[in-house]
Symmetry: C2
């Protein structure tokens, strides 16, 4: 059930050099290394057309091979929706329907498989982050973990029994629905084009900006926006706790740079669970139950390194 | 990731005789057999004091051994909350805080370990049902499955990558929270003593009875109660789909004997996902995505047999 039953050795440096890609909506970060304490080089590529991104990433890894020797694997953790349904199928690793220009159908595995001899692995950015955090970060040693990113969108990665969850496709935690008061509904109908007031439609950076008129980062800590935001995110914690029974919930992403949110979310989560999930990890350990990621903005990239190393065995 | 990678051979009869216990709030069913097509005998014991239940169950299995030979394992699937946190710990397998008289602290594993030489396994009733249905029932061949029971309470079992999910303790799916209209909130505040209008507080049998004044089974198919019920259960499907990305959702339990509920829940789930989870299994296959269990009221008991056989390997 736990990492320790796997041959994968989770030390912070390793003997096997791997390539890591974290693909986000605005930038794609590539790095080569053996672990979080041994990242040799990294580049940031703007998320323009996929061909351009792939070209620059392939060039980067080719240079890394010249400098440091052969890569033993490349792992990609990407924004979704990405087809992870049938490993080995033609569409496995391709971006699905998306409003991002040029990216629908873009295939993450092909360019790297063509350019390099090593195996190429893929998962979602948030599943990657959950994995990386469980190996070296803020969820170390745990095997059932949720990683939520609250940024341009809201995404959630799930690790269960030490393995990233895919199921039918992959989780879309950002689109869960939660209770709202009538007053709140009148104040803001939500900004998700599919669902209105789902989690993402209420609590993503752009949703907050739409409601309050300024970027989330510019709202002062005593602005009423944060009461609303912690309300919404506490409901997410309640539903995640009841549905998945995770050992820890991690909140990353730009909006969560507002550290004053954490105590507010914790308090409201406890209040709403109302003693029902009666284990000390929640009732007495809420400060360690809902936490920021250990790797901060690097959670996804470290997740890609963890994924490559885990799949190599 | 799937059953096929395990040594466990999922045929409907097997060569290894096992004991199975499904423990519910009103009755405890015990059976001995090798698979769903080879159940030798079974008994129903009323869920009175634990000592009495354990005594009758031990006697039943002792008789089965006399008649059919040694049991190779016993598996228990039980109502919760049950301590499944640390296999091997003293409290592993004990019922936790519960309003059921005499059951708080009752230890499911001890009496059977003392009376029989074989290994004794345990999981929740709903995790068991999810497992059994994935092996032989309505979720055959799938490895990421939700089993919900809508009865005296609401419970949910999760199978991910073919393994029952425990995490911190075990899922408490019945206590997720969902959107409600102001009209609905005024009409019924919900009946859960912890959360008011959580899923269980709205849609369990006793909650329905509290709201509508008669047992759910006595409400005619065109009663407005079923519109409300399917609304609530469709929200549950939306949240389960977004959070876990299951390949199938199974609804069992007494209240779901009302088969007219299924098409209503399916339609509302599709409407609310609004095309977002854009895979044919949902958009075109909703009739196979939300289904009743193949084993009906025996889903838990077959799950116990499946659990015993799986753990034996």
């Amino acid at each position: 059930m736990s990492e320790s039953s796997e041959p994968f050795e989770p030390g912070r440096t390793g003997s096997r050099l791997v390539g890591a890609i974290e693909a986000g909506g605005t930038k794609v970060v590539c790095a080569a290394g053996t672990g979080p304490d041994d990242v040799r080089d990294r580049i940031r590529i703007p998320t323009t057309a996929p061909e351009e991104v792939f070209k620059q990433a392939v060039e980067f890894f080719a240079e890394q091979e010249k400098e440091h020797g052969k890569l033993e694997a490349i792992a990609i953790v990407t924004f979704g929706p990405v087809d992870l349904r049938r490993p080995g199928s033609e569409s496995y690793g391709a971006i699905m329907k998306t409003p991002k220009p040029g990216w629908a159908g873009a295939h993450w595995l092909t360019p790297f498989r063509q350019a390099f001899e090593c195996p190429v692995y893929i998962d979602t950015d948030v599943n990657g982050a959950a994995l990386g955090e469980s190996v070296w970060g803020a969820a170390q040693g745990l095997d059932t973990v949720v990683y939520l990113t609250i940024g341009t969108g809201i995404g959630g990665g799930l690790l269960v029994s030490g393995e990233p969850v895919h199921g039918l496709l992959h989780p879309e935690v950002g689109h869960m629905r939660i209770p709202r008061t009538e007053e709140e509904k009148k104040a803001f109908p939500g900004a998700c084009p599919f669902h209105g007031d789902c989690l993402e439609g209420l609590a993503s950076g752009p949703s907050m900006q739409k409601r309050w008129g300024v970027p989330a980062g510019e709202l002062p800590a005593d602005h009423p926006a944060w009461e609303v935001q912690s309300d919404v995110l506490a409901w997410a914690c309640v539903n995640l706790t009841c549905i998945l029974s995770p050992q820890r919930i991690l909140f990353g992403g730009g909006v969560m740079q507002q550290e004053h949110l954490f105590p507010m979310i914790r308090e409201k989560t406890l209040e709403r669970l109302n003693g029902y999930v009666d284990v000390p990890e929640v009732t007495q350990g809420i400060d360690q139950f809902i936490v920021p990621p250990g790797f901060g903005q690097d959670a996804g990239l470290m997740g890609a390194i963890a994924l490559a190393r885990k799949r190599l065995g």
